[in-house]
């Protein structure tokens, strides 16, 4: 009887762990499928759709901060680029 109770409690614990892990998995998260990306593909979603404007803004920003290369340059953000 005691053994049966232990087995049932183990089974319940495994089931609960399964539900919890299933909730954490990416499969249950909301995903935008490849065929649903019309809005994301819109030109308005491109932050660099005005390259000249971006270059001018960056020039002013990096001159003011005296730290060029803070955007769009490879590196790990450690300041050693």
């Amino acid at each position: 009887m005691r053994s049966l109770r232990r087995k049932l409690s183990l089974l319940a614990a495994l089931g609960a762990a399964g539900v919890l892990l299933g909730g954490c998995s990416t499969a249950s998260a909301v995903r935008v499928h490849p065929w649903e990306r019309a809005a994301l593909a819109d030109a308005a979603m491109n932050p660099d759709r005005d390259p000249e404007g971006t270059a001018m803004t960056e020039h002013v920003y990096f001159s003011r901060e005296a730290a060029s290369g803070g955007r769009g340059v490879g590196g790990s953000g450690c300041g050693c680029n």
Binding site: G22, P34, W35, A41
Partner: protein, 165 residues
Amino acid sequence: MAIAAAAAVAALSTGMPAQVAPGKAFPSLGEAGLVGGPLPGTAGKVVLVDFWASWCAPCKASFPAYSRLQSAYADRGLVVVAVSVDDDASAFAAFVARLKPSFATVHDPGHKLVGVVRVPTMPTSYLVDRSGKVRFMHPGFHGEQTERELRSEIESLLDEKSAAP
């Protein structure tokens, strides 16, 4: 065991069918509720099914290649069907009117077909043999490379004997 249980729960929670891949039967085009144009007969034919959208730049680049394939192999039994996944039917119609493709173009309203096929990227094309089974799959369109691969695969499928008596 807990991980296996979690995977099972996750699979049940998504409720999505498996992705169509080489070796599997392609869903029936005739029963997919496609609109926007006549659907050509595909029984006993080699079918190139392409999923595209008006907002997808590589899709636009792929259309001239599919036109070339259609004109080169239609006599031997190739049918090209391009399925639009546009949300907006007018975007589909405008794209087709602008490019005037020589192959069949249809619209998948409500993403009924693409939701079953579950393409991994846009565009994706499937080469279906004469028996209705997917034999080759091309995620994305990579210009001449994709066209060259498609030509070789289409020729091999056209050379196969028909499964029909």
